[in-house]
Point group: C2
Chain length 178, copies 2
DNA sequence: CAGGGCGCGGCATAAAATGCTGTGCAATCA
DNA sequence: TGATTGCACAGCATTTTATGCCGCGCCCTG
């Protein structure tokens, strides 16, 4: 999980490209980053093995599959001992409808993201959680009316510029990056 | 955006498989869903064209690329006329570091997800937003300490069972689904 | 029961993935 | 400063995959 220092500019371009075009052909990827297919594939495989790429996926338009309701839920635990957090986490991990779990600092403990078929479905899950031994003191739900955008591409180009600023002197052809 | 009624069980299996293995080979995909490669590819292409699949991407381990700080921000607008929402949305859409935007019902208006290099970086962006004409009355930030899990696979298998319940009578070989 | 349409599997061709080899550049050391 | 070593690249050959075409069987309809 250490920040790996072994990535050069080409590696970052590969990651950025794959992030937004996961099913791109290696030939096209090689062309996009300015390499021939062979070393490009070698690098991509190395990035996968080294854990920089954790997987690939298709983005689905869930609303075409049926009614979907996204809900964010703030959760406060009753107790805050070491085991209380891990117990809560391992329990909710098993619930398919909870697709994100974040431990936050602030007015509550966890922020959860639910993907459900509707409020009834959500209510069923919540009731199961309250009856189960999750250690929940209270919760608050925010129903998503609409999601104007969800970007699947994280801004790693901002890492470029950050790193670039650090080693500005030794590296002068930044401009080709983007 | 209408829920499309033209999907059979095989289509759903293709979607589910691609969702969790976006770079799978068509040959493997065909084998996984029980088709030969030709019709499998035809279906996959059709699902893409019909908009059920909106894209493909690689999932990156951002923490190996450098320090990243995720922050959820609750935003309340000063005014709530029709144009105020769209103006806010179009402005924040241009900020790379805001990767999700949700309009919610409840105590505030928007829930935003930031991916930043740190609190300083976040503060810069927030200050830019407050100085710009975004129409923000107030905001509250929740710094993510850790994210125990983020699932990239949405529970479309729950759609299976939902749909299955609806048309239980006319469709008896549900068991092969999973 | 006959006709028509749709979707399947199989086959052939084009494209891509993948492994191997030789070469050039750069850093290292004498 | 010049020789050596190592690394990463491009090019090529082979295997695998993608993709379009064709004929067959099933189901729906008349």
């Amino acid at each position: 999980m250490m920040p790996g220092p072994k990535l050069d500019r080409i590696d970052l371009k590969i990651l950025a490209k794959l992030q937004q075009s996961g099913r791109i052909t290696n030939v096209e990827l090689a062309d996009a980053v300015g390499l021939s297919p062979s070393p490009c594939l070698t690098r991509a495989k190395r990035l996968e093995k080294a854990g920089y790429i954790t997987g690939y996926g298709a983005y689905l338009n869930l609303h075409k599959l049926g009614e979907f309701l996204t809900i964010f839920t703030e959760v406060t635990l009753t107790e805050h001992r070491i085991g209380d957090f891990s117990r809560f986490e391992s329990k909710i991990r098993k619930l398919d409808e909870i697709v994100e779990c974040h431990l936050v600092s602030g007015g509550y403990d966890y922020l959860l993201k639910f993907m459900t078929r509707g409020v009834g479905h959500y209510q069923e899950i919540i009731e199961g959680m309250l009856e189960g031994d999750y250690g929940i003191e209270k919760y608050f739900s925010y129903v998503v009316i609409k999601s104007p955008f969800i970007k699947h591409h994280y801004p790693i180009q901002n890492l470029f510029s950050a790193k670039a600023a650090e080693r500005e002197a030794s590296d002068r052809d930044i401009s080709e990056l983007e």
